[in-house]
């Protein structure tokens, strides 16, 4: 197994066997209802499942909302998130359950309730969480692929800004050493281990799933391996923090939940900053680039983040993680996403091939960033 977080190394080994499986058949609402009743039979005796409805949005998991009627309380709505055979990400439902549990009461998150970590009742690993009211985008936007380029506009920008900063600061200052995170391992052997683990995980995914050997990606991989920075203060990294991945009330701008924790890990907080600063996750209107459509440029965001978190942003590490995130993004859309679509192992192949068109943006970004570094391979 490769040198990465042990739980993730096992995940990478297990996925190899799935590659040979026949095309994935998306789950039908009726079938999901039956599975839910079987799964909940011993957990909520007398439970009645109704209103099963597939959710849109997202690019990785099969998601269904449903109502659970119970004899000992009012009906309640939940969300089932279940793995397809392959997806644009390779993540663990058990880790998602653990991290959401850990952050209950720290920042707004969907409360995780049940877990089928190994897919014993459901065909694939699944997690069930409470359905949180809210929207990831203004109602004026009719179609937005996974929230990319979401324009919040005014007054939402100003209303969400302090909440956005507060959530990110609380994640990065979270005391993970005191938390119950049984499926996470702490990279504390040496200061380079957090990022070394990270690079090896994504490199292995690239090796397993690449549908083409893009030369710039090879140079980026070599550079990232040769320039791993120290991480003296490992913290929780969300892994996909940006506009589009939180729910809010459109009338008040109050954030009701931060979503999509599946790529979280213990590592360098600069990784989250490099991720949300990517042009693809911001907007450009009348020549003004807004980070997550909230902050007027990078400097505005960095200043506000440092004030909110008490952390000091290291420009060298930030540059490293900008490069890492362009590399990771390419791996997601052009390797994992394209491989899943080619193998017919996902429930939304048409979205995956659409998203793969972003690949050249990340190649261009990598080429520009590497050219700016003096220590090329």
């Amino acid at each position: 197994m490769i040198d990465t977080e042990p739980g993730l190394a096992r995940l990478l080994e297990e996925r190899k066997a799935r590659r040979r499986q026949p095309p994935y058949v998306p789950q039908a609402d009726d079938a999901v209802g039956g599975m839910l009743e079987a799964f909940l039979a011993d957990k909520v005796p007398g439970a009645r499942v109704s209103g099963v409805a597939r959710l849109g949005g997202g690019a990785s998991k099969e998601q269904f909302a449903f109502t659970l009627g119970r004899s000992d309380g009012p009906d309640q709505r939940y969300v089932l998130r279940m793995d397809p055979l392959e997806a644009i990400t390779e993540t663990s439902r058990e880790r998602e359950f653990d991290i959401l549990k850990a952050f209950e009461g720290v920042i707004p998150v969907p409360r995780p309730v049940w877990l089928d970590a190994e897919g014993k009742i459901f065909p694939r690993p699944a997690v069930i969480m409470e359905l949180v009211p809210g929207t990831p985008k203004p109602s004026t936007i009719t179609l937005s692929v996974t929230g990319l380029g979401t324009v919040l506009g005014d007054p939402l920008r100003g209303l969400i800004r302090p909440q956005y900063l507060d959530m990110l600061a609380r994640i990065h200052n979270f005391d993970w050493r005191a938390a119950h995170l049984p499926s996470y391992a702490a990279p504390t052997a040496d200061p380079k281990q957090p990022t070394r683990w990270l690079i090896q995980f994504w490199k292995e995914l690239l090796e397993q799933d690449a549908v083409a050997r893009e030369p710039v990606l090879r140079l980026a991989t070599q550079w990232l391996e040769a320039n791993v920075p120290d991480c003296p203060d490992p913290c929780i990294v969300h892994g996909d923090f940006r506009t589009g991945n939180y729910l809010f009330d459109e009338a008040t701008g109050k954030v009701s939940a931060l979503l999509d924790w599946e790529m979280s890990y213990i590592g360098d907080f600069h990784a989250d900053l490099g991720w949300l600063l990517q042009p693809v996750f911001g907007t450009r209107i009348d020549g003004v680039f807004r980070v997550s459509d909230i902050f007027e440029g990078e400097a505005d965001f960095i200043t506000a983040y440092e004030a909110a978190s008490g952390k000091t942003v290291d420009p060298v590490r930030l540059r490293y993680f900008k490069l890492f995130n362009a590399w990771k993004s390419y791996i997601l859309v052009s390797a994992l996403g394209m491989r899943a679509a080619r193998e017919k192992h996902n429930h939304q192949d048409v979205l995956l091939t659409f998203l793969a068109a972003t690949g050249p943006m990340f190649v261009a970004e990598l080429a520009n960033l590497l050219q700016a570094e003096g220590d090329l391979p």
Binding site: L219, V280, V363, L376
Partner: protein
């Protein structure tokens, strides 16, 4: 007269837009999203259809030019020389094959040289190769971004 690819795909879009999408329940969120993505996908394919053969031929020409540049600069030990020889043989291979297959064949050859350079390449040669690959890779990515601009993701090419 045989129906053209344009005629056939345009009729698929019409069916999806005029019949399938309106028939989907308002709460069928994923089905509606995928129907709209399918329509968008096909419309962009239609817009690119006539130019696709030339685009793919240019992709091949560009990757072959990168391979030639790499071969002109690569120097080093046994692994580098072997990888360079293999890439040279690939470039000399004139067997007819689809453009995408040729593209991936040459990419594989360049990748092997880059890996070999990292193991026993001459440092100056490795740096020169990297600079060339990045310059040519950036130029190629600019063409690819323009090609996919209609997808609407790329603020720099919309």
């Amino acid at each position: 007269m045989n129906p053209s690819v344009h005629d056939r795909l345009s009729s698929v879009v019409r069916a999806l837009e005029g019949v399938v999408l309106p028939a989907l329940p308002a709460n069928a969120a994923l089905a509606r999203e995928q129907a709209m993505l399918s329509i968008g996908h096909i419309q962009i394919v239609l817009a690119q259809l006539d130019a696709t053969p030339a685009f793919e031929a240019e992709e091949v020409a560009d990757i072959e030019a990168m391979a030639q540049a790499v071969l002109g600069l690569a120097a080093g030990g046994k692994a580098t020389r072997a990888a360079a020889d293999a890439l040279r043989a690939t470039l000399a291979d004139s067997a007819p094959r689809p453009a995408r297959a040729r593209l991936e064949q040459v990419q594989d050859g360049i990748d092997a040289v880059l890996i070999a350079l990292a193991s026993d390449g001459d440092p100056a040669a490795q740096k020169a190769v990297s600079q060339q690959v990045l310059a040519l890779g950036a130029a190629r990515a600019a063409k690819d971004r323009a090609w996919f601009a209609a997808m609407g993701f790329d603020a720099g090419h919309s």
